[in-house]
Assembly symmetry: C3
Homo-oligomer: 153 residues x 3
């Protein structure tokens, strides 16, 4: 696989892990001190620092998933991620910057299906020793959120 | 084209054949004894064998399309397939396993547009003599179906 | 980047320019005498010449964007483009034909999100001196349009 294929493969595995409800595997896609945060386009444009959700390490991500599993506050539901328009650049040999668009569909237990979220992933990716996210910033188009956002996007 | 490009090209042609209403070309994307079935995520998780729709050969697929054309029960409408997150593996030299996510939008004659289905394609693909589906399993996220599902996804 | 990657990269940059509201950069993705038009599947099938929107050069595209900015008739909103199922062919060494599927999500100022448009891009692309659209025809699945279509798809 070349660099573009490697990046697209990482994005694809990320989506399937979330959509298959294999949330425990999600932190393993980040470096040990990987960053993950969800923000809104509005906040990013204004330079406001307050993200909707933020993790500063794999350990924090694991905690977040464990809380989710124990709290069990969320209704049974499925997500379906669609990712497209990947643009990559390579500022240096060891790192890749990737921008891509996403759409998340939510399927409720009743079978009802609707657009849940859309936006952009802004990523810094390392290739060695394996392709991993060093940072993933999820910038949502809409500022409207509900409590279900506790699940990673 | 390398293996990944070949697989993505096959998936892309599949989508355009359905969305352009060139249904008669659909069986030609499978091997002569190719399998196609639609199931729900719920049924697959429970190991229930009953698929929503199932074909065991190209001939059966041709029959299905002919019935569709003759029955003409369905309202005039369009579909639009979006496919993403392709993950491929190659268990042996002659076969490829592919998992990808899909979203199908339905456009009614009135112009009304809505999310129709989402889910995963689980495929076995052969490359020789040409890239063809040996098996395509369509696993829908929602268990809600209507009669329109008679058209392949 | 090989030919397929070059084409996908061009499609991706196109989407981000529109979704980031960097409309002034949009004409720069076309050749100086590049063509752009939006039509409906219904009209294309009937061979009707009247497109919903049509530009015959980069200069016309710049005018269109300037009018949009000055008129300022449209409500604050965001778009999110998803592109998939790219099929490319290369009729000669200097040109590429590309067909791809798109879905556009519209996010209103209120945060409300809905499917806005879907359809096919039919493109002629040149590679030299840089990858640019010589022609982009946007064929929308739905014949239902509102005034907001003044913004490029």
């Amino acid at each position: 696989m070349n660099v573009r294929e490697t990046v697209e493969d990482l994005h694809s595995r990320y989506c399937h892990i979330l959509d298959d409800d294999r949330l425990e595997e999600w932190p393993g896609l980040f470096t040990e001190d990987g960053k993950y945060r969800i923000a809104t386009a509005e906040n990013e444009a204004r330079g406001l620092p307050l993200p909707v959700l933020s993790c500063d390490s794999r350990a924090m991500m694991r905690d977040r998933i464990q809380s989710l599993r124990h709290a069990n506050i969320y209704e049974p539901q499925r997500y379906r991620h669609l990712v497209s328009s990947v643009v990559i650049s390579q500022p240096d040999n060891s790192r890749i910057a990737s921008v891509s668009s996403f759409l998340v569909i939510r399927i409720m237990h009743t079978g009802e299906t609707a657009v849940f979220a859309s936006g952009v992933y802004r990523d810094r990716i390392v290739l060695v020793p394996a392709p991993l996210y060093e940072e993933r910033v999820v910038i949502c188009d809409s500022r409207r959120f509900d409590t279900l956002l506790a699940i990673p996007l």
